[in-house]
Symmetry: C2
Amino acid sequence: MGVLVVGSVALDSIRTPHGLVQDALGGSASYFSLAARHFTPVQVVAVVGEDFPPASLALLRACGVDTAGLATVPGRTFRWSGEYDADLGYARTLATELNVFAGFHPSLSGEQRRARTLFLANIDPELQLEVLEQAERPALIACDTMNYWIDAKREVLLDVLRRVDVCLLNDAEARQLSGEAQLPRAARSLLDMGMRRLVIKKGEHGALFFSPDDRFFCPAFPHENLVDPTGAGDSFAGGFLGYLDRAAGAGAPPFRQAMVCGTAMASLCVEAFSPERLARATLEEIAERVRAVRALAHVPEMDLWA
Amino acid sequence: MGVLVVGSVALDSIRTPHGLVQDALGGSASYFSLAARHFTPVQVVAVVGEDFPPASLALLRACGVDTAGLATVPGRTFRWSGEYDADLGYARTLATELNVFAGFHPSLSGEQRRARTLFLANIDPELQLEVLEQAERPALIACDTMNYWIDAKREVLLDVLRRVDVCLLNDAEARQLSGEAQLPRAARSLLDMGMRRLVIKKGEHGALFFSPDDRFFCPAFPHENLVDPTGAGDSFAGGFLGYLDRAAGAGAPPFRQAMVCGTAMASLCVEAFSPERLARATLEEIAERVRAVRALAHVPEMDLWA
């Protein structure tokens, strides 16, 4: 059992209307693993430079994340900086320094190859393919990406997306990849292109799940005190795949319930800068948030023209 | 029992990527009444000019709408024209001709004053006040408005909104009225300003319901063949208030179920130009759409860390 994530561990500098942080723990694999580890064991494969703060490594380990696959190599850690406007919608990227990430080629150990669930976080689709070729038939594979790869490596990316069980995209990426302006048409087009299942994340507007035989909508938790949206998508993926891995083997994968868990973890993530809130969340807090998200869209019985 | 709507009956000229119509039946009261009449008796108070097509009047009557309050006066009928881009989001208004609507002052008959449910559609808030003063204590009053009145008559509008049971706004109007960029904060601010309950309509992203003791989210029906979004908000109001009027007297108002009915009627409305789809919808089709909307966000039982 357990989830393997291959992605980035980074140092983020972020400004939102609530304040700013400098060189805080970030990266897709950090957010993902600190969310997923509440549900199931997590192994990380990523790379950092020699300047990676020992305290950040200690935090991941203290949270039970298996960091055996987190290589430290000469050079500086991947850095990202961005800022948000008052509506806390999409980030404006100020700078991306790949640093040691530029030479990253994931190499999986025997234990990592045998993970039951695999998450290919947002990295070069050619690296995602390298991981797929090393993995030993995981029960479930999910994949994320970004606008840059949709533009720059469309064909390789499509190859990856057709080979995984669930593609996680945001609304802009789903539109860009499909060429359709309306999301339900974009989803149809992506399924027609050979993707098996889609999760389309819409930030404050919730998330959609599409498969050939189901359509599901999960509302976002209506935060009044959003602090920093960074990492919400990867935290969603962590809750989503963590729950699915935990439930694996007990019949059809419970995708709807997993969407609720993803939404709950994303909503905790955005209450603080960096994955700090995910690190200190208790199981009771998570269960309470899951209940709250589930209750948001619950409709009692109704009679029509009774 | 029954709903009274005071609003506009208009002739619309609309262009969408699916085609165009010229001088088609439109206006808030038309869409509202053709949606609500599936649930409960509807009376309309509005004004048209001598050029109003007999076929449109006949359509309203054939659908069972009580048009005794639809005055015909010398002059031309209110006209609106607009167009939509490929994403079929918000309308771009090309022209508004008030015509006979400029001199409209609603005067309610005895039967109209005694309606159990009252909908103040989007008209000058001073006219909405005139209607409130004539109504004889309806069980439920709901009110719509638009960006123009929020700018031009903010204080009168706030007076109206504080006096009604449910305020229906779209997301942009909620932000404009509250001055808050994030919707959950906008909703909190509007409740703090004295509004009792809020429905915030977000088009393709669904609709939110806020009261001091509940928050509910209803997804939009994921259309792949959206034809014309005009009237979706008023159709929503028609399904919402029609259902509430039908259910009146049987305990606490079933707002969540009413949101589903509103969503179902809006989703039927946008399948064709003008309120044509609302006019020909059958109870079976409506019940099926209500079931589909309800199923969209249904989450089966889930165990966490069982």
